[in-house]
Amino acid sequence: MKLTNAFALLRRDKLAFVAAIYLVVVVVLAIIGPELFGKTATAINLRARNLPSFDLNQGWEYYLGSDSLGRSVLARIMVGARNTIGIAFGSVIASLCIGGAIGIVAGLSRGALGNIIVRSVDVIMSFPSLLLALIVLYVLGTDPVNIIVVLAITRLPVYIRTARAEVLEIRERAFVSAARVMGASGFHIAIRHIVPLVLPTLLIIAALDFAYVMLAESALSFLGMGVQPPDVTWGLMVAEGRAYINVAWWLSFWPGLAIMLTAIAANLLASWFRLAADPTLAAGRKLADAAHA
């Protein structure tokens, strides 16, 4: 019932609806892209390098042009979706879960633990995240999984701080007191009362972070410690294509556009989600406020 509600709400917001469709396409590509277009994306043809965009003579796969090794840019974008989305999704989810959990613990703990967590966050925050990522990748190596880990670490502080701030507010609400009166343990309160209320806020941050992580991954590629060929991500494509900006703008433009569109879509969905996250509460409160005004 809630799901159909959400869908109806989504249909009403046209922009968010388009954004959702775009994201669905990207996710579908991420799931099946490499299987469908893997061959096309890796077929090197040194005699067909840097073909320009919008030329259908070479076949549809070269509609967006070819790269410096004569590979189809379109196919590479479709194949790159998996790693790009995988890395972004993986690190965002990881930092959300771990950071959220730590933040909730910090918010609920009234002792030294909370303080230690806050201070540790300060330490990570004063270490430029890109450099931290770089160093850790030097240690661990540039495996996609390691990149996920590293990007997740650099985003942890945001989630910890947000979750903690939310918890500090929520734990003072009357329903938490009511649960304590009934004899609920800290764990019970965290799982039943705190998590469901903190999660929407964290999810909104996660949606915005999605773009951030894709860009960070790209910056790592620029610095040489991102995903390594023959793996491909959009960020890597932009980083590789920058060397050819003068002669073949399309190498970096299309993957860059893909990142930008994904970021905008995530943003639009996030602001839609802000309203839709809690249709009951939001609508109810507004109604009550309006009536009272």
């Binding site: 329903f175 009511a178 649960a179 009166v181 019970h188 469901p196 809690d278 609508a283 005004a293």
Partner: protein, 542 residues
């Protein structure tokens, strides 16, 4: 303009006003074709409950309806004969603050937290063209006039550094800055303690007599209306159901709704105390410190089975702190709370679980007391997941339905979320939740304070019924004296953490021994204009 000339000339005229609100569920008509006028030097009170459209009407006068969602669909608002609605925006804005001013409920949020109060008062004058120096001087004068002590020093203080009553005085100073012809006061005393309320009302009355302005008071409190108004308008669901001079409306209400509002419910609320009187809670020598602040001093009382113990007192008196200590949400600094003879601080294991079942709570804010992400069934069954031995899982739903009906809700509402209920309904759910573990004592911390009068009546009636049927005892904390007077068996009066007086309700209210108790009772307005006028006189003399 001297007030004499305008005698009986209407200051404000509202004609066939209709206001629509766009809501997620469709169009909602907040104000339905109302007309009234306010004459010069007259006090008019609009009485109504939430959703009656009284505040919307007031906001419409000052152009404070946010469009969307609110929209004036038809009708007219005239100020001194000129239509506000057809006036150009600039001209209207010039009237706001100068010709019409407004005092809001909850002055803390209605004052800008980041600017000094003096600046905020002077701002009104500066917006209307007074030079800065002059405006500042005028602001100082105003602060003196509304009774701010040491205005020179307080001029550059910020809203959070004032008490609630003082903040409302600042709001009033701000409204009076340009000597308006009409002052609209929207629930100006609602969140204030009764003694403070009495002083604010006195201030308003004084200022009105000094300047000859008209006063339009919006209130849900019949006592306040009786105290201040010449005429009253009664609104219900956007409709003006009754209006007339205050005495005649209060004496012989015509409309059933007005009658309902004015019904004396003493008998309804009163219920027989159980006679077995088994002692449940014995509280003695309770002391609680917050750092250096001594919040509760040497408090002691008892609660017997089926007994209603009322605790009254003004904000900061420590009554809520006592409640949270009984609920084991806070540890006392010293003293003891015995439950059936055992100290609750040293309870553990089964005994502790027993206590957690026996004592439950209903809190003030119906919005924050239910988890918005849980449906009603989950809210009710949460207690049973914590105490699995109370009820086997297969009986949860039946019991939840039973509880819903017991508190006057539909069993079919179990799947709904708190957001889909009104404030009163939520408080019923909170009561149902408190009943899930078959408790012996329910601590009601201002449980009905945020509710409308008719809703309040329903909830109190419900509590009364539950005591009758289940033998519940209540610790009933409230700042509303009339309510406690009608409802409680015994009453404690608290002031600055101490119990100044306690005893049977009839004794304490009938013959208060303590001076503070007397003042408290005197300051609490009654819904009878004649009686209230007398009380006011005695209060002034005292």
């Amino acid at each position: 303009m001297p007030p004499m000339l305008k005698q009986n000339a209407p200051v404000l005229e509202i004609e066939n006003l209709v206001i629509d609100f766009q809501t997620p569920t469709g169009l909602f008509q907040a104000v339905r074709d109302i007309s009234f006028r306010v004459d010069s030097n007259e006090s008019v009170a609009i009485i109504g409950e939430s959703g009656s459209g009284k505040s919307v009407t007031a906001n419409a006068v000052l152009g404070l309806l946010d469009c969307p969602p609110g929209r004036i669909k038809s009708g007219d608002i005239r100020f001194r004969g000129k239509s506000l609605l057809s006036m150009p925006l600039r001209e209207r804005r010039d009237l706001y603050g100068r010709g019409i001013a407004m005092v809001f409920q909850d002055p803390l949020t209605h004052l800008n937290p980041v600017y000094p109060v003096g600046w905020q008062i002077a701002e009104v004058c500066r917006i209307h063209g007074m030079p800065r120096r002059e405006a500042n001087e005028h602001a100082l004068e105003l602060m003196v006039r509304v009774g701010i002590v040491d205005p020179h020093k307080r001029f550059s203080a910020y809203p959070h550094q004032f008490s609630g009553g003082q903040r409302q005085r600042i709001m009033i100073a701000m409204a009076m800055a340009m000597q308006p012809d009409l002052l609209i006061a929207d629930e100006p005393t609602t969140a204030l303690d009764v003694t403070v309320q009495a002083r604010i009302l006195a201030l308003l009355r004084r200022l009105q007599s000094e300047t000859g302005m008209s006063l339009l008071m919006i209130t849900h409190d019949l006592g306040v209306a009786a105290d201040i108004a010449d005429r009253v308008l009664v609104m219900q669901k956007g409709v003006l159901v009754e209006h007339g001079p205050v005495e005649s409306v209060f004496r012989s209400p015509q409309h059933p709704y007005t009658r309902q509002l004015l019904t004396d419910r003493s008998e309804e609320y009163r219920s027989k105390k159980h006679e077995d009187g088994e002692m449940l809670l014995e509280i003695s020598n309770l002391d609680i410190h917050y750092g250096a602040h001594h919040a509760v001093k040497d408090v002691g009382f008892t609660v017997a089975r089926g007994e209603i113990v009322g605790i009254v007192g003004e904000s900061g008196s420590g009554k809520s702190t006592v409640a949270s200590t009984i609920l084991k949400l806070r540890e006392p600094s010293s003293g003891s709370i015995l439950y059936r003879g055992k100290n609750i601080q040293s309870l553990s294991g089964l005994d502790l679980r027993g206590y957690k079942r026996a004592v439950q709570a209903v809190f003030q804010d119906p919005y924050s007391s239910l988890n918005p992400r849980m449906n009603v069934f989950r809210i009710l069954s949460e207690a049973w997941t914590l105490h699995p031995d109370v009820l086997p899982r297969e009986k949860w739903r039946a019991r939840a339905e039973e509880l819903m009906e017991m508190v006057g809700l539909n069993a079919s509402d179990l799947e709904k979320f708190p957001g889909e209920f009104s404030g009163g309904q939520r408080q019923r759910i909170a009561i149902a939740r408190a009943l899930t573990l078959n408790p012996e004592v329910v601590v009601c911390d201002e449980a009905v304070s945020a509710l409308d009068m008719t809703i309040q009546a329903q909830i109190i009636t419900l509590l009364t019924r539950l005591r009758r049927e289940l033998g519940l005892a209540y610790v009933f904390i409230a700042h509303d004296l009339t309510l406690v007077e009608k409802f409680a068996d015994r009453v404690l009066v608290m002031k600055s953490g101490e119990i100044v007086e306690q005893g049977a309700t009839a004794d304490v209210f009938g013959a208060p021994k303590d001076d503070y108790t007397r003042r408290l009772i005197a300051a609490s307005p009654v819904a009878d204009p004649k009686l209230q006028a007398e009380r006011r006189r005695t209060l002034q003399l005292a």
